[in-house]
């Protein structure tokens, strides 16, 4: 019996149903509805992002100029946000310098070495718990531990470590996920060629995980840029109107390179101005600073993706 005869024999005789029949109408409608909802969600996300960018671009028009960044801050002039802009970049660098390597190493441990046991489930539980602690609580913790107990005072280092506490669990979790997403086949191929486990991780797994790791870095960095509550209690409010960038004496609290100095970041600055600022140009400065912050975040994200691609190519080349 041929396949088609077999199929036909199972059907009662009678007129063949039309291809335009109504039997499947319900599922077709559901399919269209799902497409529309998913499309709509995507458009909404893009619209929110676009809306924020456009709003601050318009609000900051005429405010942001070279003098807004490097000018002399005073109550009667716009701008001079370079010191706080520098602090944001500095805090980002310091935090990422600690959180990224430790997070990636932790992720490698969790994905490649740790088995499924009580210790690893305790680690996962802690990761989730710390990530969901309100940031103001993390800030208070940093205040008690670093500022008071360690007697470091309100310093960039206190802030960066508190931010690391806050970010490390996220970075570790995202790194673990990025590594786990690398197909097992790739590991098998490498091990079967006589590579050791570490060689396999170094030369196959990590390069393939780079896009996922970059996502982790970007999300972590976004929290550093945006975080005000943690830093309020740890790196403090208090930034001189000018930094002497030629002062490389790390022990000098006035040097912009020193981790042992108070450091107001752009986010904290916006919060402070918006809640207690009194100057004439307060609103313009807030808008301008927000526009700068957003463009920094976007630049960082695009730059990180670009560097990730370069790195991936470098790592797989040799």
């Amino acid at each position: 019996m041929t396949a088609s005869a077999e199929r036909a024999s199972g059907r009662p005789p009678g007129p063949k149903p039309s291809l335009k029949g109504s039997a499947a109408r319900g599922s077709i409608l559901a399919d269209r509805a799902a497409t529309a909802v998913l499309w709509g969600t995507g458009v909404l996300v893009l619209a929110i992002l676009g809306g924020i960018i456009v709003h601050f671009a318009v609000a900051a028009w005429g405010v942001v100029s070279p003098s807004f960044i490097v000018g002399d801050p005073s109550d009667t002039e716009l701008g001079g946000i370079l010191p706080v802009l520098w602090n944001s970049i500095y805090m980002l660098g310091l935090t990422m310098f600690i959180a990224v390597p430790v997070g990636i190493l932790g992720g490698i441990y969790m994905a490649e070495y740790a088995g499924e046991n009580r210790v690893t489930s305790a680690i996962r539980f802690a990761e989730e718990a710390i990530s969901s602690v309100p940031s103001i609580v993390v800030g208070l913790f940093g205040l008690i531990l670093f500022v008071d107990n360690f007697r470091w005072g309100f310093t960039a280092l206190s802030g960066a470590l508190a931010l690391t506490f806050f970010n490390l669990p996220l970075m570790t979790r995202l790194a673990e996920q990025a590594l786990r997403a690398v197909p097992q086949d790739e590991r098998s191929a490498s091990l079967a060629l006589g590579a050791t486990k570490w060689q396999t991780i170094r030369h196959v797994v990590l390069p393939l995980a780079i896009p996922g790791l970059i996502t982790g870095v970007i999300l972590t960095a976004g929290r550093v840029f945006g975080e005000a509550a943690v830093l309020l209690f740890t790196s403090g409010i208090g930034t001189p109107p000018h930094y002497d960038f030629t002062d490389f004496d790390l022990g000098n609290p006035a040097s912009p390179w020193s981790p042992l100095r108070p450091a107001t970041t752009l986010s904290v600055y916006i919060w402070k101005l918006n809640s207690e600022g009194l100057g004439v140009f307060k609103n313009q400065i807030v808008d301008g600073s927000a526009a700068i912050l957003i463009s920094m975040v976007l630049t960082f994200n695009l730059g990180a993706r670009f560097l990730g691609r370069l790195l991936s190519r470098r790592l797989t080349a040799a």
Binding site: D185, S188, L191, L193, G194, A195, T196, L208, T316
Partner: protein, 294 residues
């Protein structure tokens, strides 16, 4: 399926196996091929493999002659691939897998905890079912194994990559964009030959192939089979295949596995391919190769 005639034709065209058969009426699991001990490249002695409490392979003993091709055939779930992976200890990667019995390479037990799996896998290479080149250039794919062994001399690497690709019959197709083209940009058949080249570059003695052509079109499959016949001159090859014509075409010796009632795989019989496909000793083998089950 009635391919009995084809089989015997294929068997006639094959080079006579260099294996002496001794005990025709041996019990099913016994080895009916005995080569001179110094000709045995790899062997298993009462090997059983379990995952946790489930026995996947039970009590398999067989020898593989140096520079010959052994085909493992049998229905899905009969433990052929699991058995194959005990030769390069890839089963180590599966949590809960245990291997009992002895697996020897040149007389040395590879299941010994002192054995370096890294060294073992350099001597016993493996080609997987799905072509799995690394997402790197063709050159870097082939250079991967030697580089991990510390070979970084540019001239030596160039030479090694070229000979490996030539041996895998891929050189002419890729020589112009070795460094520009990703291994993943090749066709399925080319990818599989790249994977073979990648194994050859580590200078193995044994090559394990786990259904190497099952994801390939018929033309690519034939090229892989031709390649296997050529490689047989220098390497010992063990291949798992679902394709019985393939086993008949390429192998010198065939081992037939099936599943027991408790789902454990076991060896039904092993013998020169020509005999297994024309005059199998076991009813189960005959039923399987004539398409009555499996």
């Amino acid at each position: 399926m009635n391919t009995g005639d084809e089989m015997s034709v294929a068997a006639l065209h094959m080079e006579p196996p260099v294996i002496r058969r001794v005990d025709v009426a041996a019990p099913a699991t016994a080895v009916d091929i005995v080569a001179r001990p110094e000709d045995i490249k790899i062997a298993t002695d009462h090997v059983s493999i379990s995952y946790g409490t489930r026995v996947a392979v039970r009590d398999v003993s067989l020898n593989v002659q140096d520079r010959s091709i052994l085909a493992l055939i049998g229905p899905s779930g009969s433990g052929k691939s699991t058995f194959l992976r005990c030769f390069n200890r890839m089963n180590d990667l599966i949590p809960g897998a245990t291997v009992r019995g002895a697996v020897t390479l040149d007389g040395e037990n590879v299941t010994d905890p002192d054995v370096s799996v890294v060294e073992l896998r350099r001597r016993v290479g493996m080609v997987f079912q799905r072509p799995n080149p690394f997402p790197m250039s063709i050159f870097e794919n082939v250079a991967y194994g030697p580089r991990r062994r510390g070979l970084n001399d540019k001239r030596a690497l160039d030479e090694l990559v070229e000979t490996s690709l030539k041996r895998a019959a891929l050189w002419d197709e890729v020589k112009d964009d070795l460094r520009r083209k990703s291994g993943l940009a090749l066709s399925g058949g080319q990818q599989q030959r790249l994977c073979i080249a990648r194994v050859l570059a580590t200078d193995p003695e044994v090559i394990l192939m786990d259904e190497p052509a099952s994801a390939l079109d018929p033309v690519s499959t034939l090229r892989i089979e031709e390649l296997m016949r050529e490689l047989r001159e220098a390497y010992t090859i063990v291949i798992v295949t679902h394709n019985m014509q393939q086993a008949a075409r390429v192998s010198d010796v065939t081992a037939f596995f099936t599943m027991a009632e408790d789902r454990a795989g076991y060896l039904v019989e092993v013998g020169p391919t020509g005999r297994i496909f024309t005059r199998p000793n076991e009813r189960l083998t005959e039923d399987y190769i004539s398409g009555r089950f499996g």
